[in-house]
């Protein structure tokens, strides 16, 4: 069980706060975040504007005329451990599905493959083998609509983010940073290392009512050829 002393509640701004459950990635901590999310929605009701569940933190926004952020955080500091203990373990046992995402790994569409190869001391083939071997958990959906934060990455592939983020990362880019991996669902700035590209529309997959990707699900990547990628509607245009 997660030690209560590891839970901290902090005020961020005049209408936002955050609950930290340590600074590590584990499915146990992720379950605590999902439980806290349910606790907040019950506890704050209409005063809660939204939440952002992440790997080991839960960000929340309150309507200041309904509930003062300082009072809310004081209340959480006092009551949260007890409320978490009371929360049923629905998130522990929720049905988890596995989604397969085909990826074309190549320097044309993964312009950091060579850099990662040098920094990690691995061949491109080894990078692809390691990246496709793990089954990743969806720890959060954020940063952009349909952007799934996936963990955990093989330790041999773990590198710091790029010092200067790219101002444009193409949609479908498959990327890594520290112990995380993800697919960029739409064109956006980004600081992760790009390994390849998928033709899968991640936002559409997240919005799917029946078979959609949700927090707690698992994702595995499979390597495909350029031809397969193009047949699936992929764009192999190199990054300019």
């Amino acid at each position: 069980m997660l030690g209560i002393e590891k839970v901290s509640v902090e005020v961020l701004s005049e209408q936002t706060g955050i609950i930290y459950f340590g600074n590590a990635i584990s499915s146990e901590i992720s379950n605590q975040v999902l439980k806290a999310d349910q606790v907040l929605s019950t506890l704050f009701g209409e005063a809660l504007i939204d939440t952002i569940p992440a790997y080991c933190s839960l960000h929340f926004t309150l309507n200041p005329l309904r509930l003062n952020i300082l009072s809310a955080c004081a209340l959480l500091r006092e009551k949260l451990p007890e409320l978490l203990a009371q929360q049923d373990s629905k998130s522990d046992s929720q049905l988890s599905r596995t989604h397969i995402i085909p990826v074309f790994y190549h320097p044309d569409v993964g312009p950091d493959l060579n850099d990662v190869s040098v920094q990690a001391g691995l061949s491109i083939e080894q990078i692809i083998a390691l990246h496709t071997a793990n089954v990743y958990r969806v720890y959060a959906i954020g940063f952009a609509p349909g952007f799934c934060f996936l963990g955990s990455l093989d330790p041999q592939l773990q590198l710091p983010r790029r010092d200067t983020p790219r101002t444009k990362v193409p949609a479908g880019s498959v990327a890594i940073a520290a112990e995380q991996t993800a697919v960029y669902p739409c064109e956006t700035p980004g600081g992760w290392h790009l390994l390849g590209r998928t033709a899968v529309d991640m936002l559409a997959r997240c919005q799917d009512q029946n078979d959609g990707i949700r927090v707690g699900d698992t994702i595995q990547f499979s390597a495909i050829t350029r031809n397969e990628f193009l047949k699936q509607g992929g764009d192999d245009c190199p990054l300019v």
């Binding site: 961020l12 701004s13 005049e14 960000h59 200041p64 959060a140 609509p145 349909g146 934060f149 956006t188």
Partner: protein
């Protein structure tokens, strides 16, 4: 009843108060870059707070009224004219069918807000008309497109003919030196005293690489704490420090999550002040109290009926 947009200008966006309640699936809040001017424009017309207005960045801008109605202008001073005659900013105006409203490039400030009685018609996407260009959500089309020349903006006819102006004491001076309150939060405690000194005792300049997503600030490098941070939810006004030491203040169109260390936040109302700054503007930070930011927000929400 409609307006025809004759000249959309460099960036004109339909914005209501924002898209609330979907950050957990990565859909950002968006909304007006200057919430204060947006609020005044709607308030002058007695519109509900969350009414879709036009956020006109920089100008020029021109529209043709196809029907009589009332509008309000607030925010950046774009030397507005109605059929060629100068009209006041921070004020309501009555338009007749055939009238032409013209806004020149902003003299001070960056964004003007144009509200119409009852708001512009728009099909909300995820509960909001706000245009999120990067996310391709909202706006006239629902696909996140900016307003284009030739677009037709519909509204409901109204007999309302108020004459209202914002009291002079409440009209901000966008040329005044800007000082933003740092709310110490996020990784504030992990920054060295030397880094905090650099941040709080120097002037910064708004970089040309600034937009509704975030404002990059040029100035002395602020040393960020070592070590990787696990990505976490980002508040409006959070101040990221890049590994190269550059502060980025995250605004309405920010990503919902990120992993760079943050030295703290500015309040949403300070973010609104920053939203009127153009590249090259100079600003400073001071250490602010959470209670003061809460108080300012509560007064704002009560006054404007947020």
């Amino acid at each position: 009843m409609s307006f025809t947009i004759k000249k959309a200008g460099p960036l004109t966006l339909l914005q209501d108060a924002g898209r609330f309640g979907f950050q957990h699936i990565g859909i950002g809040v968006g909304g007006p870059a200057d919430e204060r001017a947006f609020a005044w424009a709607n308030h002058l017309l007695s519109n509900p707070y969350n009414t879709a207005t036009l956020e006109i960045t920089l100008g020029p801008f021109e529209l043709l009224a196809n029907a009589a109605t009332q509008i309000a202008l607030a925010g950046a001073d774009m030397a507005a004219t109605l059929n060629g005659k100068a009209i006041a900013n921070w004020s309501t105006h009555t338009l007749s069918a055939g009238d032409t409203l013209f806004l020149y490039p902003a003299k001070q400030g960056l964004r003007a807000y144009l509200a119409v009685v009852g708001g512009f018609h728009c099909q909300p996407v995820f509960g909001s008309c706000s245009t999120a260009m990067r996310e391709k959500l909202g706006g006239l089309s629902g696909q996140g497109a900016a307003i284009k020349s030739g677009d037709s903006l519909e509204f409901t006819a109204s007999a309302q003919r108020l004459k209202r102006q914002v009291p002079p004491d409440f009209i901000p001076d966008y040329t005044a030196p800007l000082s933003l309150g740092l709310l110490p939060s996020y990784q504030y405690g992990q920054f060295t005293n030397a880094a905090l000194d650099v941040f709080l005792n120097n002037e910064f300049q708004v970089s040309a690489e600034s937009n509704r997503m975030g404002y990059r600030l040029n100035g002395p490098a602020v040393e960020a704490p070592q070590g990787e941070l696990v990505s976490e939810g980002i508040s409006l006004g959070a101040i990221q420090i890049t590994p190269a030491g550059q502060p980025i203040v995250l605004l309405q169109d920010r990503q919902t999550m990120g992993g760079y260390p943050k030295i703290g936040c500015i309040s949403a109302l300070d973010a609104a002040r920053l939203g009127q700054c153009r590249p090259g503007s100079r600003l400073r930070f001071y250490l602010s109290k959470m209670e003061d930011a809460i108080g300012e927000r509560e007064r704002f929400n009560r006054f404007f009926g947020v």
